[in-house]
Symmetry: D2
Subunit: 284 residues, 4 copies
Amino acid sequence: MIKAATLLLSCPDRPGLVATVTQRLYELGANITHADQHLDRQAQMFFQRIQFELPADAPAWPAIEAQLAPTLDALHMTWSLIPAERIKRTAILVSRQDHCLYDLLLRQRQGELRTIYTCVISNHPDTRPVAESFGLPFHHLPVTPETKAAQEAELLRLLRDYEVDLVVLARYMQILSGDFLARFGRPIINIHHSFLPAFSGERPYHRAYERGVKLIGATAHYVTEELDAGPIIEQDVTRTSHTDEIDDLIRKGRDLERLVLARAVRLHLQDRVLTYRNKTVVFG
Amino acid sequence: MIKAATLLLSCPDRPGLVATVTQRLYELGANITHADQHLDRQAQMFFQRIQFELPADAPAWPAIEAQLAPTLDALHMTWSLIPAERIKRTAILVSRQDHCLYDLLLRQRQGELRTIYTCVISNHPDTRPVAESFGLPFHHLPVTPETKAAQEAELLRLLRDYEVDLVVLARYMQILSGDFLARFGRPIINIHHSFLPAFSGERPYHRAYERGVKLIGATAHYVTEELDAGPIIEQDVTRTSHTDEIDDLIRKGRDLERLVLARAVRLHLQDRVLTYRNKTVVFG
Amino acid sequence: MIKAATLLLSCPDRPGLVATVTQRLYELGANITHADQHLDRQAQMFFQRIQFELPADAPAWPAIEAQLAPTLDALHMTWSLIPAERIKRTAILVSRQDHCLYDLLLRQRQGELRTIYTCVISNHPDTRPVAESFGLPFHHLPVTPETKAAQEAELLRLLRDYEVDLVVLARYMQILSGDFLARFGRPIINIHHSFLPAFSGERPYHRAYERGVKLIGATAHYVTEELDAGPIIEQDVTRTSHTDEIDDLIRKGRDLERLVLARAVRLHLQDRVLTYRNKTVVFG
Amino acid sequence: MIKAATLLLSCPDRPGLVATVTQRLYELGANITHADQHLDRQAQMFFQRIQFELPADAPAWPAIEAQLAPTLDALHMTWSLIPAERIKRTAILVSRQDHCLYDLLLRQRQGELRTIYTCVISNHPDTRPVAESFGLPFHHLPVTPETKAAQEAELLRLLRDYEVDLVVLARYMQILSGDFLARFGRPIINIHHSFLPAFSGERPYHRAYERGVKLIGATAHYVTEELDAGPIIEQDVTRTSHTDEIDDLIRKGRDLERLVLARAVRLHLQDRVLTYRNKTVVFG
């Protein structure tokens, strides 16, 4: 039996960072099984992701953290230690379309996404049968401009009750308020059905059709207060042509949305994504 | 010996278009070797491209045109007949960077692009050796805000003297005025180094870097008065990541620019591109 | 109300084919809404796919066929007329893995695949709940080398009872005998988890891992007696690297298998695929 | 002024490897600017690539090597230290086709490939003007089955005289003998015009056409005695269809060959490729 964890850290660059951290881990008895690092030369910022293992009889994680803290804090690092046995709890928000929802549910069952789904929440009742067929609680939270504040309060209450670590907007067609985002304070991943920054906002497939683009895209990003402007985690595109009508773009787009969102969620669940300056470092 | 031609046509849709045109061609002794068509259901517009062959002893092309005209005009078609022996005359405009220029020159020599290059024109002297090593006249037309009108007049004079059918902007970093475009009145293909409509205008790689996109793109389009807003002929993208600095984006982008521009120019030279409503029908 | 159909035809090439066929359709009152054609210059074979519409009061399809037959037969054409109201009946064969099965079921429900699923048949009981959750009959036909002949006889009986037009092998890990194929006599589409002709046969992901390829692929093809050697309908690939272990190849491959199989089945259901010389013409 | 170098190493896996190496580098005053590592769990082998910098007044590289050797040798590492100022010397071998040759020459001039081209060698005289227009010596070494041994001896003599570190076969259509490979003993990169292991050997585009594949590929690999079977560095594919004749496959393939070969050569020149078990680890 082995104890495994991931250490994520970032700090202003300076010589000796790698040596200091790896040496300290080694002193604690850790075997580094994988390490990635990145130096942003413009920002002069250093980022690192270290996967390591400890013997089964090593101290508990809080003790390990306490042993690491002096070294990491002395280097002014922002850091977090994520034990492998800690499984993230996810809530899926969705509106009417169910293709991303199905995809996320099936991939987790398949073993591709290491998470516990806590519930499915929607502003429409349509996807209740899907959620329930996977044994998940479904919450219908309808919303109108007048009830938006109350709906978000209820949403927040649910997410807290379920102790949710991650929210995935799997084609949830409502904009979350800055107030809600601040109160929730945890990561939210959205899938936008265009190649951002092109066609941010509404009806991107219709606008792509009007513009006559030869590729359409999808973008998974962390949600920030500014619409469709948060740090991008993953993007992809597929070819289109003059023969594609809007319905064809929507159909082709569904495949993109599924794939791009699933990749982004997987990367996040594996603690491979660090954000800074509204961008991401994705350790692949 | 055989005479071959391409017939391009478009008109409002109505029943019997295909039958009428193909029947008329058949009556003239034509053998259709390839035909493509497209119906835009939104616009209710019909587009067709027909390649056909006639016996060597068939009448001259003007006579064939005269025989086709009554049928096509009666259907209110916009049409053009392009004999295969007619080779388009192209001028390449370039600023300092030579990668697209080299690519276009080598592909024509290789037989991929069926065109006669008439000359290379630049607002900088840097690419003169490249042009001359391929035996092409080089014209240095420097430009400043003050001399822009005079430079465009000189440019127009050159294009007319060379009887140019097509202008390719192979990384020509100047904006052509609406007045120039109207006077020249022939197609101009530009390569823009982004996935339009994202990052139109200046310094797209720098802005892509700032935004943290996970793909960069290139777009070949016909030039219209509105900057980077003309009908798109071809686009493509390539993956990037946080490890790519701006110089890496520029390097990766060069490959995209070369490929996308060459494909677009080839499609145009083969009379495969029809434009309408600021979009293209590309018969592949 | 309108009657629509697709006409597929092929024959040795000769002048006037397009004009003759389109003229005949026009005489019958047809409006051609889309037409594609292909001339294989090596084989000197002509292929065409025509979508057309008739007024609602046009004769029944057998009468239309009788009216077309003299013209088409005189040109020695192999042809078939497929009325739009005729929906193909499909059986899905699967072994233990359910990702392609789910994908096909969801896409049909979504409206992407225009077919009637008649049943799911498997040599293992695992996917029974999936089939039943979509309201489909499930047949468990276990097979051993000794019972293979009997199992195939039972399989054939089922396919005939269900009046199946198309069989999709959605990761069915058994080889169908030549005798079975001859008796069934209708199209069977298989998804093979490699970029054929590389890694035909067993365990392609393991062999791809051993060889150290930088891309893995999937191939959808019509089944013929020779294993993995039938006409290819669609293929695609995805990037891999030294960091991918066999399980990663299998995971990435599932996405490819789903996408490639779904595209091939859709193309077939839309009567866009013609086969000759062990290759396909795919009218996109 | 700074001294920079890359350290490549591999060894059987064991705990503490990263810490030991980075600690030793730190003791020598090195600042690690980038590090990549890979653990092959099947082979239980560890691979690492470390880029580091030393102050300008650090000892000369042989002294640094001597200081590192005890640590690295004690861990049974295979390792090499490549100072950044050491630029690899490359010879390009080519037959008649010049597209990869031009591409490699232009990319180096553009600054994409950090190498010194020593000469161009061919079994045909056709590309002499290309080589000479880039100021490179050209050697015409014709070869027949009878003269192969003598030609390879002359080739070896030239490569030694030019002190060549790397040979690039840029569409050199001759098979190098095992004897030659053993005597030369340095890396040779070949571009094969198929997606290996499919269509290894002769006329891959013709065979791809016969098989009716929907994608064609290109593969860059290190040359070993077995034809087209060496460690793969890079591969890519592009779409084809029934409309592509063999000449179209060849044309599309040229773009693939150029891109894939250039990427592989760049990766090699940056010391990003380690080989083992006939596979590569490519640190991107």
